[in-house]
């Protein structure tokens, strides 16, 4: 089994705390012996690196430049992500799991899941309803649509505390998805996530 993490932040691309959260989760899972690949974003062209043995990082960049909004950028970045993940899928016989962080790579992952039957786990740290000063603006409404779609199509949604769970319950449709409260800073996080991955791969 191999897990592919998709995150728009990873050091040195640090926008908020997501970069650190993703980094520590990858380290935690690798310590448990799980093979992890990361697909993340680069602002200076496409490249692949392997900073430590067994951790492959593909940094993708938009094939289109410039962009009028973050939505057009997200669409192009997702097409690139679909290309990279499809390449990983077609070049291995390992069972794959896709694990995305927040909404940015939801469009590509939803399509990959449908086309190639790859299980999909989402870690949700915040939602547009909380972040946006104007959640009903056209831009936020596009992002909320993507989050809504993500909640309907992923297999498991991980939130870090009960408060976030109540926020998500208020804003997203959770009738088709399993939701788990798992604190990434807790010592049992790695074991719990591994158990989840194993369950998803077997089903």
């Amino acid at each position: 089994m191999k897990v592919v993490f998709l995150s728009w932040e990873y050091p040195p691309r640090i926008v908020g705390e997501l970069a650190w959260l993703v980094q520590s989760q990858i380290e935690g899972l690798r310590r448990k012996g799980l093979e992890v690949e990361l697909v993340t974003v680069s602002d200076s062209g496409f490249f692949i690196e392997e900073p430590v043995h067994g951790l492959r990082i593909t940094r993708i960049s938009s094939p289109v430049y410039p962009h009028s909004t973050i939505i057009t950028w997200i669409a192009a970045i997702n097409t690139e992500a679909a290309r990279v993940v499809a390449d990983i899928y077609h070049s291995t016989t390992d069972k794959l799991i896709l694990h995305t962080h927040d909404w940015h790579f939801a469009p590509a992952t939803s399509s990959l899941k449908k086309a190639l039957n790859i299980p999909w786990v989402v870690s949700l740290y915040s939602i547009e309803q909380q972040r946006s000063l104007n959640p009903n603006s056209p831009l936020s409404s596009c992002i909320r649509t993507i989050e809504w779609h993500m909640a309907r199509e992923c297999d498991t949604l991980l939130v870090r505390n009960e408060w976030m769970l109540s926020e998500v319950r208020r804003s997203l449709p959770l009738d088709r998805v399993a939701v788990m409260v798992l604190d990434p800073s807790s010592p049992s996080w790695g074991d719990e996530v591994l158990r989840l991955y194993n369950l998803l791969v077997k089903s």
Binding site: P63, V64, Y65, P66, H67, S68, T69, I71, T72, I74, A75, A76, N78, T79, A82, R83, A86, D87, Y89, H90, T93, P107, A108, S110, S111, L112, K114, A115, L116, S137, P138, L139, S141, C142, T145, I146, H149, E153
Partner: protein, 400 residues
């Protein structure tokens, strides 16, 4: 070799925005007649079924994204997200063998490119026009983004189809696509749709019996040159009693109405707006001359329609038109200025043997080279070439 194609287009009847809808519709049906399994992914339209099979063509109408979006390009991005997601669900179940993905223009680039990589199937793209051509250059970042998307699509595609040698040159020059990656396949018409259908009754709705009918069909925008034809009209009226009928919509409509008032020829110019297809075809059959004063024209489908209706053509022969008709053989070619256009119209209206000569030649040319059966055959050859190259490579096949 059995062929299966997944066609992606943002318009398909009854959702008609421009010429793309008719093109993809006619091409799909003709390909299906030739034994190709055709699946069309397009956008929903009120009243049209989400899924249907018409003349053997499988049509899927995807949610077009109906919430507010910041701009047109963002809406296109969201629409592509929906189209890709839907395509992934249906293709997995519907298609078991190899297939070709055929994208029409940049509007479906994201979905088409992602489909190519997810299913590892070859992509063919038709570039009907470029942002550079439509805007007369790239002037801002928004246009730069669209041009960049067009370039990306042509890089990702196995082969590119353009509708004229002119467009192939433009794609090569503007998007940097190598010429040897481009196939030129023209647009087509169904001749039977243009057999004589108009009569005196229809004619009386547009012109009096003693007026010669000068027809313009096209969008009322700068690049189509309709403003030059309006300016030419007073000169034409000095020699011939004529009525100019302008069919189409566009941002120049109000300008045209104001200008014909200023020129004192408002009783000699009739701006009809959009017309239904039956009335339009009727007009082709009763008009005396069609004028295409275009400054930019990737193909010029109106020239085919006029030729199929045996209507003499006066044209600037811009872009692709010059590849369909030629001066004094199948049209009267003019310069894009009012004097030259007026000269060409008067030539045709005052010289019946010339009119007869050019309209017969144009009709024969369309019959021999531009009917959908032939166009579909050429498209099938491109598909066969792409598929055999893809199969011979072998290494990029999906795991089963």
């Amino acid at each position: 070799m059995s062929l299966c194609v997944v066609m992606l287009s943002w318009e398909f009847p009854p959702r008609i925005i421009g010429g793309l809808a008719a093109h993809v519709h006619d091409l799909s049906i003709e390909l299906s007649r030739k034994g190709v399994e055709v699946h069309v992914l397009t956008l929903d339209f009120p009243g049209a079924p989400a899924m249907e099979v018409v003349n053997g063509v499988h049509i899927y109408r995807v949610d077009s994204y109906k919430y507010p979006s910041p701009d047109f390009a963002s809406w296109i991005a969201m629409m592509n997200v929906n189209m890709l997601d839907y395509a992934c669900s249906i293709l997995k179940n519907q298609l078991k063998g190899d297939f070709i993905i055929h994208a029409h223009d940049w509007l479906v680039a994201n979905a088409a490119i992602a489909l190519k990589h997810i299913f590892r199937m070859p992509l063919v793209a038709t570039i009907h026009s470029t942002e550079y051509g439509r805007r007369g250059g790239i002037h801002d970042d928004y246009q730069r983004m669209i041009a960049s998307t067009e370039a990306w699509l042509t890089r990702e595609a196995w082969r590119i189809i353009c509708c004229s040698r002119y467009m192939a040159g433009e794609v090569n020059r503007v998007l940097g696509t190598p010429m040897d990656k481009i196939d030129v396949i023209p647009n087509g018409v169904y001749l039977e749709n243009f057999s004589s259908i108009g009569g005196a009754e229809l004619r009386s709705m547009f012109a009096s019996p003693d007026e010669r009918l000068v027809l313009y069909v096209g969008r009322l925008v700068h690049e189509k040159g309709v403003q030059l034809l309006v300016e030419a009209m007073p000169r034409i009226l000095q020699s011939v009693n004529a009525k100019l009928v302008i069919v189409g919509e566009g941002y120049l409509k109000e300008w045209i109405k104001r200008r014909v008032e200023e020129l004192g020829i408002s009783q000699k110019v009739y701006v009809t707006g959009f017309l239904d297809i039956k009335t339009l075809r009727g007009l082709y059959s009763i008009a005396d001359v069609l004028v295409m004063p275009s400054l930019y024209e990737p193909f010029g489908i109106v020239a085919l329609e006029a030729a199929a209706s045996r209507l003499p053509i006066v044209s600037t022969c811009a872009g692709g038109i010059g590849e369909i008709v030629s001066h004094m053989h199948s049209c009267v070619s003019v310069y894009p200025n009012p004097d030259s256009i007026a000269w060409g119209v008067i030539q045709v209206l005052s010289n019946p043997s010339l009119a007869e000569h050019i309209k017969n030649n144009a009709y024969e040319n369309v019959k021999n080279n531009y009917v959908w059966g032939k166009i579909a055959e050429q498209t099938v050859s491109v598909y066969q070439r792409v598929l055999s190259e893809y199969l011979s490579l072998g290494g990029w096949k999906p795991r089963r």
